[in-house]
Amino acid sequence: MTTTNNMTFKIVGAAGQGVESSGAGFAQALARGGLHIFGLQDYMSRIRGGLNFYQIRVDEQPLYTHEEAVHVLLPLNKEALETYQHKVVKGGGIIYDAGLKVERRSVSKGGRKAMPVPLIEIAKEHGERVMANTAALGAAAGVVEYSFDRMADIIRTNFQRKGPEVVAANLRVARAAYIYAQERYAADFEWKLEKLADAPERMVMSGNAAFALGALAGGCRFISAYPMTPATSIIEWLAKHEHEYGVVTKHAEDEIAAVCMAIGASFVGARAMTATSGGGFSLMVEALGLAGICEVPLVVAEVQRGGPSTGLPTHTEQSDLLFVLRASHGEFPRLVLAPGTIEEYFECGWRAFNLAETYQTPVIVLSDHLLASSLRTIEVGAIDFDKIEIDRGKLLTESELDALTEQYKRHLFSEDGISPRAVAGHPNAVYATASDEHDEFGHITEDLFNRRKMMQKRMQKLETARREMKAPTRYGPQEAPIVLVGWGSTYGVLREVVDRLDGQGRLVHFRDLWPFPAQAAAEALRGGTLVTVENNYTGQFKRLLQSETCIQVDHTISRYDGRAFSPEDVLTGLKEVR
């Protein structure tokens, strides 16, 4: 029996062994063969040692999630082999260096196939020892008889900057390992990969890269951030593009400085943001209120990880939802967006700036480690640059400023709560504003009548914004009896669960979370047993939904061990419901 183009690879090794670069390279090689991939990363908070993995699922159809079953395991050391061999399905293969001190019999127990390959010997013979990972990938491709041309292609791309000799040596190593594994193990191995002819060119993209790309395309001109996993790759991506695209990137001294710098940059008119995770966001909270009361547009990307405190620094969680909805003392309007897919994360990149400038208030993009770091093949057109609009709201133009005749009121009372905005630099609109309560001009005042009107004005923006909050999306038949309710990064896994439920389930997925689209939620959730699925302990979204709509949720499936749900996890949880 042969299974073609439907399998999962898992590369496991210590930090520093090149798991990530090998995984990403392999994923790219598969994508270039027209196959769809989903790449899940799991790494530990250390520079060397421990166990990291890169799990790559492959199919001919688009993939949105990983699954539990592993068909080919590539352990780069003995610990990796022993920890993960039980994940390999019966008949699946374990490719490891022939020099590892393990008993072949113990590797092959449970009907698995032990596939020792002299990876280090091959690397040394045809190149250098450091190319053992290339040998492992070559062997993996050999076992499943995937196109060596595609492998060679990506080796050329990835090693190009190291020079032609390094490229040639890696090619020799990969080919030798490919042939070795193919000759010995392929005939007897069930899973195969075939490149697809005429498949369109696709992108392989991670969530954070998509977000940064969206921000850049949407006119982000300033980012200040302090490195914090899993948000760091946002400023890193933009820093790499600083020169060519004219975006200022500032690695600040701490998160308080980072958010304050972004507020300062935005105050003078640049589209500005900061990016952090929960711990850094905790430090930014006071400044969030500053942007709120002074009506400064601000975009904050909060990429969640396991908390509280340092928590699980490199793992995923959705436990900051209620925190970001309420963070800060006092009351002011804020918008919270929680993208569910890489495409939505891209869109949030530019849409967040439009919303921030339209409502002149903070916009929080709430994602997590899973969405930030997982890789997917994406159709070129699905990252839609044509859809991008740049809407700066009531920002006064140069000619409007020239035409001003009266003293400019930065915080003018208005029906929709939004005041025409000038930034520093024009002689007709010289003004100061304050984090103290202020009047329409920005002057500090404690007058109670002004306070009431100013509170009403600012909070009115939330009502104005509510109209453009997106309704939840539905996947699966409307009449399905089981309603999976999710938000943010669980979109992918829940979508696949709906597919596997075969007509019995539908997904209602929330992306715009605040102001909460209550009316649309009530409509979308009519009929069926409601099951919320969340990566947190306390059912934060369930609480939000219930408090905003009075809809009772019937069942909750939660996971709070820092790991992403697999479809199998959710299906197991659903057994109790049915």
Binding site: A257, L290, A432
Partner: protein, 289 residues
Amino acid sequence: MAATVKDYASPVKPTWCPGCGDFGILNAVKQGLVQAGLAPHEVLVVSGIGCGSKLPDYARVNGFMTLHGRPVPVATGARLANHDLKVLTVHGDGDSMGLGMGHFIHTARRNLDITDIIQNNQIYGLTKGQYSPTSDPGFITSTSPDGSAEMAANPLALALAAGGTFLARGFAGDVKGLAVLIAQAVQHKGYSLLDILQPCVTFNRKNTYQWYRDRVYKLEETDYDPGDRVAAFQKALEWGDRIPVGVIFQTELPTYEDQVPGLENGPVATRKLQKLSRKKVASLRAEFI
């Protein structure tokens, strides 16, 4: 037409106590900006929280009264986004040397072209009289009834150690001299610090106008050379019977903004926003294929 002090007049009447050193500082800021040839719309004054931090409300300037301890990073963002603006921060000793101490050191070593003005009255005024990071040891207040047991923070010595390129001390009782120092500070290319000795007439009964008048002397009237960093350390540490005012240290180094690749084509805040060209979109997409 050059701006005058009148152009800097705000309709708002200060809430400061009669005789407060903040009045002298407000007048000196206006005069200094006029001397530097700046008009109000060209200036952004970012302040923190405290009596003196209300200054932007009392002058007609672009102003942003921010959070306690945080005006410096806000000013940093503003300057990095629009380096056509002359950016000043104005805040007290609690703001700058308490919560803001970390930002202070990093900003001094960064040599971003902003002017950092510390209204240093060695006391917390707005919260009614607690000792501050710059209070002298032994200073008795409501939170130090037995006298402060800490060394006083020294803004000039700290900024000098961090690599600040223009460091000066002024006295709120000498508005004319202070205005000249402010003009010099804003005209300096790079980070400039102005530590201003300022009496708090209500809560600081020790460091009064008379106390300062008995002690301050002008460095410009001596043969002191502000180009010598080691000598500057000695001057920065001089405190007691004689207190030097004037420029303690000045040097020229490349500014931070001159080294930011994203600013090669001018300020980002005033650059017109437009969608990416087809060519740029194609090139960005190609990075992922």
